[in-house]
Structure formats: C-alpha cells, structure tokens
Symmetry: C2
Subunit: 744 residues, 2 copies
C-alpha cells in the first residue's frame, strides 16, 4: 500500500478503464496479488515526493535480466557514513528496479566476488590493482569499470574517495533507469566545476523570498532537537545530481543565524547533510557584529570588526568542521555593506575571506549590485563596479554573477562580467525558483536557458569555459542556483519544476551537458520509459521556456512585470524608483520600442567581447530574440522574418499562448500513462498557465497598442478588454513575498 493515496476526483474515460483494469486482480494467488499491489503502488498516488529517485521496476525484460545477472549481488568494502549511504541507496533501488531481492555483502575479499563491487581507495587501498589508476579522478570523480576475472564479470564503482563512490552509485542507477546496455555502462566521470551550490532564500520565520513551493524546509524552531527526516531525503536528491554545497539562508540576510543558538541548529542540519557530501554555507549580514554584539561599526578595516569575524568563524568551525563559508549580498537593495564605510566590495569580501581562510572556507560575494542614484543603464552597473576590483580579492573569494545583467528575466543576454575579471574566480548564479517565469504554476524547463547562457561568448571563451576555469585557471570554480525547493509534498510545487533542480545539478557537474539529454534522463526516472510518453514530455519540456518568453517578454523585452510580486504583466508601471519601473526598460513611445544599449544609447554593449558587440550592435544582425534588449526599434520597421516589429511582437505573444494550448492537448494524450495524482495536478497547472499567458499577451499588447496604434495581424486574437481592465487586475497574497495586508 502506498503512503499517499488519494481518491479519484474526476473519472475520465481513460482513467476509468485504467482503474477498472487495476481493480480486478487475479484471484488465482494472493502472492501475485501482492506483487500487483507493489506495482499499483508505483502508479497510483504518486505525490512526487520521490522525485527522480523512484527506482520504478524496469519494464524492458531483456535488459532487466542482464542487470539481474550483473547486479544481483552487491559487495561493499568500507565503513564510512558516505559509503553506507551508497550502500543503502543501492539496496533500496536495485530490488525495486530489478524486481528481485539483491544480496548485499560487506567487506568480503574482492578476488572471490562477481556482481557489483563498490569501494574507494580510502576503504580498499588495493582497489587500483583491480581497476587501474584512479588518482586522476580527484576527490569527487569516479569510474564505472567492468573487470573479467576467472571467467566471471565484476562491475566496480571505484573512486579515490567514498564521496566519489556515492556519486558513482547514483550514476549507475541513473544509467540503469535509462536502459543503457551493461557493456556501455562504464566510464570515468569527473566534475568540471568544484563548488556546485544551491542558494536557499529561506527566512528564519519559515517564509521563502520568491519561494513558490510552500515554505522553508528548515524548521528552525524545532531544530536542533527535532530533525525532520526530510532533510536526509533532500541530501539524497542533492547528492544524486552532484550538488555539494547549500546556502541555508536568504541573501537578504538575518544576523540571528550567526548567533550561538542558531549555529547549534545549523550544526544539526550539517550533520545530516555531511555523509552526502553536501556542505553547509550561510549568508552573512555585513552588519552582524553590530546587530549581535553591539559593535559600533562593521567597517571592514576596523580591527575589532576583523576580530569579531575571526572569532565567529572559529566558533562556527568548532561546531561544523566542514562549514563551507559565506554568501554575501552587500550594498544592494538595502543590504548593509562595506560601502557604508567608504570601503570597496573587495575590502568587504576580504574581511570575511581572511576570517574563513584558516578553516578552509570560501566567500561568495554577489555582483548583483546597483544603485538607484547611478543614472546610467542598470545593466552596466555591476561590470562598472567590479571590473576595477579585479585582482584585489583574496583567493578564497568568488565573485558570484547572475546569468544576465538585470535579474533572472525569461531571456537576457549573458552577463558582461564573465571573463572580464581574469584574476578573480567568478561563479555563475542561476535561478531555479521561477521568480519571473510563472512561479510554480507555469511549466518551464529551464535547462535551455542555462545552456544558452553557458554557450554564449564571455571574454576569452564561452561563459561555460570561464566558469570552469578553462580560459584561465583559477583557485576555485563554482556555480550556484537559487533553489526552487519548499515544503510542498513534491518539493518544487509544479511536478515539472523538479526537472530544473535535476538539470541544474547535472549542468553544474558538466556545464556542457545537453539540455535534451538531461530532460530525457529526468523523464525516464520520474515518469517512466513508455516511448510515447517520453516523446510527449520531452517535446513539451523543450518548447516550454520559449513559450514563456513569447507570452511574457518576446524579442528581448524585459522587466515588464508587476511591481512587487512579479507574477503577471504590468508594462505601464512608471512610478517609484526609476530602475524598478517597467517603462525604464521597454521605453515604448510613439516611434517604437526597446532599450538602446548601443554606443548611441547607454553604451552597455561595449562591456561585451568585440565579436559579440559587432553581432548585436547592428539591429539588422542582432538576434531577434534580443532585439529590443539592445535596440529601440520603430514599430513599422521590417524584421528578418518579413514582419514589422509590431506584427512580430503580436505573433510571438500569440505563439506563446498557442504553445500552452498545445501543451494541454499533448498532456491529455498521455493520460493513460500517468498516475492520476500527477496527471490532474499538471493539468490544473497548465490550465492556469494558459489563462496567465492570455493575460500577459492581452495586457502587454493592449498597452503597446496604445503607442503604435497599428492593426492587429489577422492571426492574432485581439485583447478581450481595454487596457484599464488589465491595470485593475490586482493579485493579493501572491506567494514568495511578505504578506501584503489588505483591508485592515
């Protein structure tokens, strides 16, 4: 019997047939009925909690037989908590996938064994005699090796370290779920990025800034006494895709997390995550010495401040010996920082870096800074602020740069900082939580966005090369993403949002991975391997991000969303801090639309590598997808598609809406292959997504139409209401922002 079973709410014909089939167990044998119960359990009542770690029985009988032969016996050599984790993962997954019992033995002499052996050089120094040299694998890499001995085949998950073995176990299970033939399972795997992080924007009161999947996983009140078993499953999910560090707290930071009482809670979490190779980081509020201990200043050049941070780090490492370090948002959007004392970001970062350095910790200093008082293009500010500081950061500092120069928009060009600070380690910051992409009600597979940025030119090489340290070796490399995980039973709210967590982890391991391959991996592990099902899900996922771009911000439009909660269109916003308005970004007028960032305009393009400058500076060669990002274009200007700007804009909005309509139809076509709970949840979300998409299209077109006053193309459904109607649509209590009081 499954744990979460809910009843059918709406019985569609396909569903009825499916249930009838399941409701008539053969009465021949209670035993076969029991087996059926197990299999029913895997289809019925999926709440998504298991993520991609469902380990469903493999349906390909031939492959399953081969795997049974190869992996029916598991031999584990070693005793660390990490190796135990690998063992337990295999002992939970293999019996289910192979649909047979699997025997696990420990510490037996290698030479006599066939089956599967998992071991590291840590636990079995003789391992390299068996599988060859392993030192190239480093501290996290692993090898999957087949060895023939006395006519028997031994399959080995081998690594220098037990963490490598754990990663190898997950890789093996991933490959089994894909149905890879036994002889093709082998390989050597080494991560290309050293720090593969998640940033949680979780507040200490349990809310999550820009969180759309419930509330924070971390139950600070209950910790350290009560340790939610979910923390362990979180660690498993992270480790299974290679994530090796998590920042527990919001970048808009609360100093309280650094108090002794809270550090005890952090320690309890760190103890759970440690066996899975996941190190804990915290956000450091720059004013913490003042807030927590009454210092008069937080000036990084003040000796008392330096001593405070040094003592604080000593205290932290006493509790958490593998503490990762600090992520800092300083002097941005109201956060305190070194500039409050006339010091530079480098001076601020180095204050913390020097306190962490004796313990092996790292500072991740965010480049997401912009001042409302600087009247230039916001897109140019981070580059202008940080490039002069190149070379001034301590070696255990990384500058953490968002993928684009504004703020996680549906589409932005790559951030111009990548490669522009050759003497400074620079890490990528993506956003998994869909702050600007429809939160957890819109299906949007983000790996194409990530890959687009990673494959874009930075200074000296692609962004991926810069991030990997392949352009110029750096002391450390890193990638992070703002987590989309919350307390929702399925972790990420939308059942497809977990694909972004998955794909991000895999991309951080290898930034040159193909989003299509990652989608396939995720689908087969999460939804099953039925060919028709896989094809449909893949097609929806690969088109989903472009659909969102089209119905929200086509052609390079950006930052035209609602002021506070970011869910829904509001291109008319023109009041308040100028660079928080929408008119600042779209610059619509009677003549045309778009932000001129060429040399004639803000000059922002000059921050990019010359070849990229040349590509985008001419509106006739600039990719249409970024046209209005870099250019102010006349409404009637002809584009390469043969349409005028206005026509193209209308058609893209319509295409976005139509795509969601297609998703709904395609989803309906696979109903019989999907368990009911997930089917109806995704269907409900898609219906909401379509309604939202229509509102985006209609509100934006209605607004822009007021400037251009040109007719709508015949293929486009004109807005249903007048502009004022869209302006009046208020949304209250949108998740992810502090409560907005109403009517008190």
């Amino acid at each position: 019997m499954t744990k979460r079973r809910s009843e059918t709410k709406v019985l569609t014909p396909a569903r009825s047939a499916q249930l009838r089939a399941m409701d008539s167990p053969s009465k021949a044998s209670h035993e076969s009925w029991a087996m059926e119960l197990v299999q029913r359990g895997l289809l019925e009542g999926q709440d998504g909690y298991q993520l991609w770690l469902r380990h469903a029985p493999l349906t390909d009988e031939v492959r399953r037989q081969a795997y049974r032969q190869a992996f029916g016996q598991v031999n584990v050599v070693g005793h660390s908590a990490t190796l135990l984790a690998a063992e337990r993962e295999l002992s939970r997954a293999l019996p289910s996938m192979l649909a047979q019992p699997v025997s696990i033995t420990r510490g037996i002499s290698v030479q006599e064994e066939s089956g599967l052996l998992i071991a590291s050089v840590q636990g079995l120094p003789a391992l390299k005699d068996l599988v060859g040299e392993l030192s190239d694998l480093g501290t996290e890499g692993f090898a999957l090796v087949r060895v023939q001995r006395r006519g028997r085949a031994l399959f080995v998950v081998a690594a220098q370290t037990d963490l490598g073995v754990l990663y190898g176990a997950y890789e093996l299970l991933r490959r089994l779920a894909q149905g890879v033939p036994v002889e093709q399972l082998t390989g050597r795997f080494i991560p290309k990025v050293k720090l593969r992080m998640l940033n949680h924007w979780d507040n200490l009161d349990g809310t999550i800034e820009r969180g759309y999947a419930g509330f924070s996983l971390w139950n600070w009140y209950a910790l350290p006494d009560i340790v939610d078993p979910r923390y362990l499953d979180y660690a498993r999910a992270c480790a299974s895709v290679g994530i090796n560090g998590v920042t527990l707290t919001n970048v808009n930071a609360n100093a309280l997390i650094l108090s002794h009482d809270y550090l005890l809670k952090v320690k309890a979490l760190a103890d759970v995550l440690r066996p899975y190779g996941v190190r804990v980081y915290l956000t450091a509020r720059f004013s913490a010495p003042m807030v927590l201990d009454g210092l008069e200043t937080a000036d990084p050049e003040d000796e008392r401040v330096q001593r405070w941070w040094s003592d604080k780090c000593t205290a932290i490492y006493r509790l958490i010996p593998d503490f990762g370090g600090f992520v800092v948002k300083a002097n941005s959007e109201g956060q305190p920082g070194p500039q409050d004392y006339g010091r530079s970001h480098a001076q601020g970062a180095n204050l913390l870096a020097r306190a962490l350095r004796p313990h092996g910790g790292t500072v991740m200093w965010r480049a997401f800074v912009y001042s409302a008082e600087v009247p230039t293009d916001r897109a140019s500010q981070a580059y202008a602020e940080f490039v002069p500081l190149d070379g001034q950061f301590e070696p255990n500092c990384l500058v953490q740069v968002k993928n684009g120069p504004i703020d996680f928009q549906p589409r932005e060009p790559q951030h111009p900082l990548f490669g522009a600070m050759p003497h400074t380690p620079m890490m990528m910051e993506f956003q998994l939580t869909q702050e600007y992409l429809g939160n957890s009600t819109h299906l949007c597979y983000l790996a194409p966005l990530f890959a687009e940025v990673l494959n874009s030119p930075g200074h000296g090489g692609t962004v991926a090369q810069v991030v990997q340290g392949a352009v110029r070796p750096t002391s450390v490399t890193g990638m992070t993403a703002v987590s989309n995980v919350g307390s929702d039973p399925n972790w990420c709210g939308h059942h497809f949002a977990a694909a972004n967590w998955y794909a991000y982890g895999r991309l951080a391991w290898d930034p040159e991975s193909d989003p299509r391959d990652l989608a396939l991996e995720w689908i087969k592990q999460t939804w099953g391997t039925h060919e028709g099902l896989v094809d449909v899900l893949l097609s929806i996922m690969l088109q989903s991000r472009e659909a969102v771009v089209n119905y929200m911000t086509p052609l390079g439009l950006h930052h035209i969303m609602a002021y506070n909660h970011h869910q829904g269109p509001a291109p008319w916003i023109d009041q308040g801090r100028p660079d928080w308005t929408c008119t600042y970004y779209h610059r619509a007028d009677a003549a045309g639309l778009g932000f001129d960032r060429t040399k004639r305009g803000s000059g922002n393009i000059e921050q990019y590598p010359p070849s990229y400058q040349r590509l985008v500076e001419d509106s006739t060669t600039c990719p249409l997808d970024l046209l209005l990002w870099f250019h102010h274009v006349a409404w009637s200007a002809p584009l390469s598609t043969g349409n005028t700007l206005w026509q193209e804009l209308c058609l893209r909005y319509q295409a976005g809406v139509d795509a969601v309509g297609d998703f709904i139809e395609r989803w309906a076509s696979v109903e019989q292959h999907v368990d009911e709970l997930r089917y109806s949840a995704v269907r409900g979300a898609l219906l909401r997504q379509r309604a939202d998409a229509v509102r985006w299209k209609d509100a934006c077109l209605s607004y822009f139409h007021g400037f251009c006053r040109l007719p709508y193309p015949s293929q486009v459904t004109p807005p249903e209401h007048a502009l004022d109607w869209y302006k009046q649509q208020e949304q209250y209590f949108v998740p992810g922002i502090p409560e907005r009081r109403f009517g008190h």
Copy 2:
C-alpha cells in the same frame, strides 16, 4: 514500495536487529518477497500522513479469518458521490486489513447476497424491509446490522442517507482495527451534536495564527485551477471521525475572502469536501461592506449594510449551495463589530443570521470578548456581556463559547456561560492547536481536558448536557475546535497531536465518550495493536496533559506565559495592557499567590451554579487543581496534601518535569515496535519537551521564590540560574505568530 522512505540516521541496537530481520527476505519466492515488501512498507518510512487511516494488516489470525469470511465481498447499492466515497474507503482498507483481495459489486439484488452490504434508504428504498426501521437515525446516523438469510450471514451498513452510510463504513473499519468480534460489531449510532466543526485560523498569505504544523493547507494562490489532492485526504480524515463543517479562515478575519475571486476558490474547496459531508464556513469580517465595496458604514441597523450582506449571501449560495455560514469574532482584540456603532452583539449576529437564513446558513458568534477598558476580572466579562442578550438572537445563531473563561489555558474551570443563556443555542469551542500547551513540540493528549470541561457543572446540567441541548432543547447544537492541522507531512507536527484531532471529532459526535477509549482506538489504528506498545502509549497519553499542567501552570495558575508567542514562561510580565500581563493573573506578593475570585475578591464565582460556588468558594474545599484560580493563598498555608502552598507548588512543577522524563524512558522501551521515522521524531520532541519543562519549572519557581523566600523542598531540583537569566532568554521566530523582525 512506500512513498516516503528515509534512511536510518542513528542505528541503535534494537533498530539494527529489526532492519537485519527485514533485510533477509526469503529467497524462495519472488512472490512472497513481494508480500514482504508490502508489509515492510507499512512499518518502514511511516511519515504519519495516513493518520489513523493506515489500515494495517490485522495481526490476529483468528479474527482476520472471521473478518475475511464476513467482509470478503462488498455489495454497494447507490450511486452518489458520498456512497462512492464509502465504497472507495472500504475497497482501499479491507484488502489491506484482511490481507486478501476483496470483491466489490454494485447494484445487485440484496436478497441474493452474503458478505457486506452498504446502502441507504436514499439509494435502496427497500432497505428497511431488510434491516428494520431506520427513521430514528436522522440524517447522519447509521446502523450496523447482521441479517441471517437462508443460512447465510449478511452484514449491513444501513442509514437513511448516504452520509450515514459513509460514517458507518468508517465506524466498521474502526471496529475491525480494534479487533471487535464479528457478532459484536453491530449497533445503532446517532451523533449527539448537530454541528461538529473545525475552525482553521488560516490566513490568506498561508500563515496560520497559532499554527505549529507548517503552514496552511489551503493554497489560495493556486486555487481554483489547481486542487491539491491533500484536500481530499483532509476530508476523509474529518469524515472518518464525524466532523461535518470547517471554517477555512482565521477569526481575525480578512474581508478579501468574501470577494468574488476568492469565493471561486472557496467553491473549489467546497466541491472537494462535499461528498464527505463536510460543509464549508467562512469568517466574516464585520467591516467587509466597507472594505470590499466602499460603504461608509457597517452599522447592522443600516439598510444598505443589510442589503449588502443579503446580496453577498445570495452570491455565495449561488456558488456553494450547501455553504455552512459565518463564524464571527467581533469587538474583541481589535476586530470591528457592532459595538463600533453602539449596537449589541445580538444585533450584529442577527444582521448576518437574517442574510443567511433564507439559504439555511448559520452564524456562530464568538463570546470571546473582553475590553481592556473594563477594570473588572477578565474571567467575568463574557458572561456579563452576553447573559443580558439571552433570547435576542435569531434561531440560526449560536453563541460560541471557549471552554474556559480566559483563553485555552492548560487548565481552567468551565466557562460560566454554559447554561446561563437558556434561550440561546450555545456551542463549545475547544482548541486543538496547542497555543498554550507547548505547541507541536509537546506531547499532550487533550481529550482529558475536553472531558473534564464537558463533565463539569453548567447551569441546569453538565456542560456536555448543555452543549447537546439536553438541558433544554435548542434549534441547533454545535461544538468546534481550533484546528491543529497544517502543511506538515504528518498534518499536526507532533505524531501524537493527531490524537487530538481524532478524539475531538469523536467527542463532538458523543460528548460523553471516555478519553481512554478514544486513545485506545487511535493508538490501535495509528501505531498497531501490539499489547505492550498499546499499554505504554496509553499510559503516556493519559498522563500527558497533567504533566503539562504541572510544569507550566499547576494548582490553578494561568496566563503566565511569554507575552507574544506564548511558548515559554514569563510570570514577570507586568507591563502593557493590564489584562495581557501575567502579574494580573497570578497576583504573587509577599503574602501569597493566586487570584481571589470569591465574593471577597472579583466575585467571578457568582457566575457559576450555586453548588459549584459552594465547592470552590472555600479554599479548603476548592479542588487543589483550581486553588489559585479562585483564591489568593498564603505561601505557608497548609493544603489538604499536608504540604504548604509553596511546597506543593514546587513538588508539582517537579512532578511535571519528572513525568516527561518517564515518558522518554517509556518511549525508548517500545522502540522495536515502532517504525524508525516516527520513533526518532517523537524521541526528539520528547527531549525538547523535557528541556522546555525544566525551563518552565525553573523560571517560574525562581520568580515565585523571590516573593516567598522559602526553602525548596528536598525532592525538588532548584533552578540552575538566577531569575535574570530566565528573563533574558529570548525566542525568535516562534511559529504561529507574524514574523518578528530582528536586527534590521
């Protein structure tokens, strides 16, 4: 395979043996291994989501055989959604409990059947020919009947209505889980209270006032498009214990819930709950006509206001034909109300009652009113305010009265209002969420508290008799409780807190139920039937509430908790609104301790029935448990126990702490009978409870010692710290209250 599986964190010896036993499946047969998987699934990885509806395989082989014979075939006659719900509940539960397939047939002629028949007069008019007269069962009652026909036994769940059948199905399953012999399963069951409610104090932003089990179940943002399957499981849990109405929103109300957009969301929820007989209610903010539609007044005697509410109710019932009505907190703790316009509570309640009446709706008007400007005893205010209004309320109004005259303290005497308004229906309000009893980290079985109040004397009969309308028939009867449910995987935070949800529902059905019986029912369905396990859990549960009273507020002390979050001791609070301080309630001085509510004091006892007055007015006959509630007693006064007040106070605090220590030991003794996830979660919570208990004891004794300056009895561990230390213990971000900003 279970849905939620987490790994062993700490392997104790008992746990290791248990796991080893499970890790060695017989290899004889894959089929028996599959059966084992099913059973493992029921022990491993219990996250508590299934509550008391686990339907674990029955372990008593003899009984199981008898049940198999009796219930191996189920015949369902009728087609309503409610009957379908009953069928699905049986078809999910019986195969698991009986460990065999169960055949379900529909609409077959009764006369030819044996096995189990479920039907109502609604679906099978001939039913009473089979089982006799049913009209006495009313709209919710049911009968479990055995009929012998042609030598074959037919067991019938019969009722007038399909809802009665659903309740009957749950009762049957409950009795099977208890192992009741087949021939003793029969009976007739009719609820003694008509409206059996839960009040959710859930805010529209997802937070829950005084909520300690995560955040709100209701995802207002996703509704109405996305309907969380959990709503259905919530309905199942409610229906299984007879709860038939839920108020979705906080009594500190937001008018927005009455807007059209939100009513569409409410409708989506109502549609899910309806088949389970659960009607939806909302809280009505008295100023809603002003907030939502700009009226200048909310005066209940204003015609426009009356029309507004009338129109609003018409609109609600168009969407939700079985809408239950409104719960209102007015002119209390800042809420708007009729007194803002010089009108009485009756005038306010009647405004809404008249708007609801044509549609069959009910108003539940809370008597929890007290004004800081009235200088008398707060415990006397509700009585003083409401008794003069007796007879002035419309018949579809209930006055909703908290169990005690202050506010859900660990122990209070019954509220003096019960029975004091003979011409007004009066309903009971309990609190399941442990606002003052250690929130979801303290194990506290509340049914003994509820029963204590229900069995106390009201005017004209016991409180239970008043609530049931047995003292004087009323147009309607009702009971409600503030829900302790949230988004936590196990619904209520603490694994034992679900017992309070369960027992409350059963007590609302029959207010004279025995808390011990209810605990046994809940234990066997939730944890299993192993005798030693049941005994230990029962003993812990039955002692738990007294333990909390002892370490928090023994001898009738009350309201000595922290000012804002209520978690932890703070008897020293003497600033702010006087009736929100603690000194107002305990009145400690050099002479003694306690609130004199006799005729010499506040005179509050005069609101009680004469016999009760006589009992409590003399400090030598007043029950010790309420001594300091009614009397100011000298520190050295001898009590009936032979101890002085000071000694008795110290000993009771110590007894509370010691009891939790005993719970920890007893819990450890049943480790091998409990799945690991729940075992370790409860153990963690018990450790925290003990730490909290010690802090309560030490802070309170340390504070009171400052007045009496007498030595601690030798059996008592004196406080570890000086009073100032306890005063300085700040707790931030305690769940259940709005965020308290720190350090910004």
